[in-house]
Symmetry: C2
């Protein structure tokens, strides 16, 4: 577990820049706090005026400018951005994150780098319990929750308009099942309808499986003669 040398108030801009770049190159996460502007340009454009902020550079090239009032960053660059650290003519510390496809760039200009932390992150895969995928598996094992006489045939069936969560038959009629891990909304009925319409059989049965459903979604569901089956991700967590 390494913690390479952080920036101190005594460091010159040049020393700060070197520390940041070295830490990044060696695979550390670099957290920099200071007074900066942020300029993003690419798929859209954003500008943050001079202010006190926290910038995180990840070893994979992703970069975040933290928002103090939400989990979503104010500005960011996804993985595989090219990170560069430089000093401009005004003796500001410049951190750039550039990427292609889409072509976009983020530039942080630090008038003052106040503090930093560099640390070697633990690489771990996170697994989430209670996912939609776990609900799929549960239904495949317990198809009777969908109703009587339904033969579940395929999970993630590819069709021309996407992927049907669970596909099967009730006697001769095709059955299309759309699964959601949270309260079903209008757009989820849309999705189910797209798959049902793709199956070229007017007898196709549409079933929405979710822990709950909004009132308007329920109305739309009824209009299309689809069925709702209640199942919560908590029920399927072992």
């Amino acid at each position: 577990m390494s913690y390479s040398e952080d920036i101190t108030p005594e460091d010159s801009i040049k020393e700060s820049a070197n520390k940041i770049l070295n830490a990044h190159i060696s695979g550390d996460v670099v957290v920099v706090v200071g007074v900066c502007t942020v300029d993003y340009s690419g798929r859209a454009a954003k500008y943050l005026d001079i202010g006190n902020r926290c910038v995180t550079i990840n070893p994979d090239g992703s970069l975040l400018v933290n928002s103090p009032k939400s989990v979503k960053p104010q500005c960011w660059q996804p993985s595989d951005a090219e990170i560069s650290v430089d000093i401009n003519e005004d003796n500001d510390l410049i951190i750039r994150a550039d990427r292609t496809s889409p072509e976009e760039s983020l530039v942080v200009i630090f008038e003052d780098v106040v503090k930093s932390i560099h640390y070697e992150p633990t690489e771990d895969e996170v697994t989430v319990d209670g996912s939609e995928d776990e609900m799929h598996k549960y239904i495949m094992r317990n198809p009777s929750i969908l109703g009587e006489n339904i033969d579940v045939v395929e999970n993630e069936k590819e069709v021309s308009t996407g992927k049907i969560d669970i596909f099967g038959y009730k006697n001769e009629s095709p059955v299309v099942v759309e699964v959601k891990r949270r309260k079903a909304q209008l757009k989820h009925i849309d999705q189910l309808k797209r798959y049902v319409d793709t199956i070229d059989d007017t007898n196709t049965i549409g079933i929405l499986v979710a822990p709950d459903i909004t009132e308007s979604a329920k109305e739309l569901l009824k209009k299309h003669n689809y069925r709702f089956v209640s199942l919560s991700p908590i029920q399927v967590m072992d």
Copy 2:
């Protein structure tokens, strides 16, 4: 611009806990790096085994456990979580973030708090240039891009199944316009279709406005006899 006292290796767990809590209460962002486990339970469940991580506590009660290889945090708690800092019987530093509706909690147990930064964030509203909303405004000002003889009547028209981006008439026929700032996909055709179907008039014209459209979305669009109009958010940026 204040930078309250950070945690140093010399601090006892108790001192560290006090510094974190005081900084949080006084409205600072608290960034803590150290060796910890993370346990989330609520809408789903997640567990991060012991490792070196960066935890950010925002003044609004949101909390992030940074991922070193993506912009999305490994674990988090949205705004308005209740933050508490404590010490357990093993002399670990415990940071909790609890919230109701939905009931969920995140617990970070630090075996070792290595470093921290506390800083007073700049509160600024960020505006993004090139949003879908800007495209709306552009179309309202330049309805001719939609085609000839279209009277644009309403922006964000509320209907029973949602909100129609732009609504109007071509002669006697209703016109429903769905606008996207990026390449249109199948689900966007679904959305347009939902609105068109809501308008109780078989002559209703559906128009999708976007910078581009995927092949399969184009097919579905054609099947429904909707029209595609090309407009990019970059074009509407002034």
